[in-house]
């Protein structure tokens, strides 16, 4: 975090604010998720049914990258995408309503937690591992054909980097010099399979060499380091110099999904994840360096808690869609 003093205080506070907002949101959502699911965990019960993949511990990746983006830049996320959605500026109320399956949600309740779409913020995500990479390439093609300077960010986990789509997309983006930033969020786990058992190289950033593009590995427990690396990649893309690959080493604080017993995960890994908490690290840094006072941070925290609560209230109090809506909207231009 040596560059922290070169960054304006308001930017640093913005970074803190968004990271803290994501954490507050995820932890609040987790509480709601377990409503109706106790004492016996039933995945279909409660106000938030289905799977829920939370991003606690991985906030730095989303914030470090997305703070360089404009609404017209695209982010294509994964099944674990709330942090990128929030950092990209997706409407928190509508997003929450979507997760609660309400009519006021981003997609009227049709998409849900793994399928958040926000056309205004150019945000999308999906439940299919490795699907993001080629889609971001397409955004890059559009930018080039239209002569615009927007960029696309494709997010995938370390598991996704073993999909064919990852390699095909990197090659396409490289030969066509497209404005795409490939982000690998390496949390070391593809559900239960550790990275050292799934990936032949220790750093996915090394794979960039195979496509002749820059590849950087960065410590995600240091949000400023992520911010700096992403800045360079985004600027490079905007200048028309082509794609980059950024590997961000993060730690998954929670299970793959909520309810995941994680019996495959060694105790030390949980401990390590706690020690490597990017939010707490950054908070400590801001205070130690005298960049912000506890009062200032508390004010930000209170605002976040309020905003998250408002989003939850909006979702809880919104109506469910009319059941017949299920049959509508399969094709554009009519039903």
């Amino acid at each position: 975090m040596e560059k922290v003093e070169e960054i304006p205080k308001e930017t640093l506070l913005e970074i803190y604010k968004v990271m803290h907002k994501i954490r507050t949101y995820e932890e609040t959502l987790a509480k709601w998720y377990y409503e109706g699911k106790t004492p016996r965990f039933d995945i279909s019960a409660g106000p938030i049914p289905g799977e829920l993949h939370l991003s606690s511990g991985q906030e730095s990746a989303a914030v470090g990258v997305c703070l360089h983006l404009k609404p017209e830049d695209a982010v294509v996320g994964t099944h674990r995408a709330h942090h990128f959605a929030i950092a990209k500026g997706v409407d928190l109320k509508k997003m929450t309503a979507e997760i609660f399956g309400k009519a006021t949600g981003l997609s009227g309740g049709k998409g849900g937690h793994m399928h958040l779409f926000d056309a205004y913020q150019n945000f999308s995500c999906s439940g299919i591992v490795g699907a993001s990479f080629p889609q971001a390439v397409g955004v890059g093609i559009a930018a080039k054909l239209k002569g615009e300077d927007y960029v696309a960010v494709a997010v995938g986990g370390d598991g996704a980097a073993n999909q064919g789509t990852f390699h095909e997309a990197l090659n396409l983006a490289a030969i066509w010099k497209l404005p795409v930033i490939f982000v690998i969020e390496d949390n070391s786990w593809a559900i239960s399979v550790p990275k050292d058992k799934s990936t032949a190289v220790s750093k996915n950033s090394e794979r960039a060499a195979a496509y002749g593009i820059p590849g950087v590995s960065v410590d995600g427990t240091d949000v400023i380091a992520v911010y700096e690396v992403a800045k360079e990649a985004v600027e490079r893309a905007r200048r028309g110099e082509g794609p980059s690959l950024i590997e961000i080493k993060v730690y998954r604080l929670r299970g793959h999904f909520e309810g995941d017993p994680q019996h495959y995960r060694p105790k030390e890994d949980f401990e390590l994840a706690k020690q490597k908490d990017p939010l707490l690290n950054f908070e400590k840094l801001l205070l130690e360096k005298g960049i912000a006072t506890e009062e200032e941070l508390n004010k930000i925290k209170e605002e976040n808690v309020k905003e998250v609560q408002e989003a939850i209230d909006f979702a809880v109090n919104s109506p469910y869609p009319e059941p017949e809506e299920a049959l509508k909207g399969v094709f554009a231009g009519g039903e």
């Binding site: 049709k110 998409g111 849900g112 439940g127 593809a190």
Partner: protein
């Protein structure tokens, strides 16, 4: 000796017994090792057989499913699991152009004793990319056998048959029948399962409830919905026969046709999409065989929409007991 086992344990027991019997049997897939399979179908196998025969794979489905072909060509009998059927897109070429056709294209030189296992079904708000059934898509391709158990007895017997079969068998298990702690399963899916290995032949349907007024045809979860519907209908004096197809390929036409001849009425309950799929195939089979029905058949299937997330939306489109009862009343 028989004891009640949930479906996931019946499946893993079948695999374990076949691995003990035949050293050529091995398992590959994501999270099938330490995790024991996301839906438990490979639980306990890693401890018993070690990581050489129970291989956790990277998320590289094209590669590990294609690798099943190569292994089979050298006499191995691979079982490959790909978590959710919704994820198959990335590996389709290996399945429908290669594994399904290798025996035919090679003029019988290459046998493909591969079992591909995957989870199907919704009902718990996992939305459009984690809730499909899609077995119709695979049944459409020549060269793939398709099995879909509805209870733990059939699950074990069909798995053993699938492993011993010299053809590629796609084995679909419905998440809502597996008997997992976190996903409720109808108690009827957890039945007595003999400890010793046994087979349930692939391609034999079962009349799970006899009746005389209407035939209800289903697989997996819709078999149970069909039985519950039949129980309700009985109170109103309607006698419904329920058939569990158990395999889509080969399709047991005889059991189907015998039943429809007897009842003269047909309702198909299918959690896969309505058009161009299983339900249409059943009707075509009946019509092609010249069986005249007392009333046009009715399909209770997923309308042709992606699976919605919101509970109210999903419930509206998911086939269930009530929809089957209504369908039966339309044909009676």
């Amino acid at each position: 000796m028989a004891r009640k086992l949930p479906m996931y344990k019946a499946i893993s027991e079948a695999i374990a017994q076949e691995m003990e019997r035949d050293e050529n049997v091995f398992v590959m897939g994501e999270d099938i090792g330490a995790y024991g399979g996301i839906f438990g179908a490979t639980s306990g196998l890693l401890e018993k057989f070690g990581p050489e025969r129970v291989r956790d794979t990277p998320i590289s489905e094209s590669a590990f499913i294609g690798a099943a072909l190569g292994a089979a060509s050298k006499g191995m009998r691979p079982i490959v699991e790909l978590m959710f059927v919704d994820f198959f897109g990335v590996a389709m070429d290996q399945i429908y152009n290669h594994i399904a056709k290798a025996y035919y294209m090679s003029g019988g030189q290459l046998k493909m004793p591969i079992v591909i296992t995957t989870a199907i079904g919704g009902g718990y708000s996992d939305a459009a990319q984690h809730s499909q059934c899609l077995y119709g898509l695979f049944a459409h391709v020549p060269g793939l056998k398709i099995v879909i158990p509805s209870n733990s007895y059939d699950a074990k017997g069909l798995m053993i048959s699938a492993i011993r079969d010299d053809n590629p068998v796609m084995y679909f298990f419905h998440k809502g029948l597996m008997g997992l702690g976190w996903m409720p399963s109808p108690p009827e899916a957890t039945v007595e399962v003999p400890e010793e290995p046994y087979t349930v032949p692939i391609g034999e349907a079962k009349v799970v409830r006899e009746g005389s007024d209407v035939t209800i045809v289903g697989v997996a979860k819709t078999v149970h919905e069909g039985i519950w519907a039949a129980e309700e209908l009985e109170k109103e004096g309607i006698s419904a026969e329920v058939i569990d197809l158990r395999s889509l390929v080969p399709l047991d036409k005889k059991t189907l046709l015998d039943s429809v001849k007897k009842t003269g009425r047909l309702v198909i309950a299918d959690e896969d999409y309505r058009s161009y799929g299983m339900s249409g195939e059943i009707i075509a089979t009946v019509v092609e065989n010249g069986i005249s029905l007392e009333a046009p058949p009715v399909r209770v299937a997923y309308p042709d929409v992606p699976v919605p997330y919101s509970r109210v939306l999903e419930k509206y489109v998911l086939p269930d007991k009530e929809k089957i009862i209504n369908a039966v009343k339309r044909v009676i």
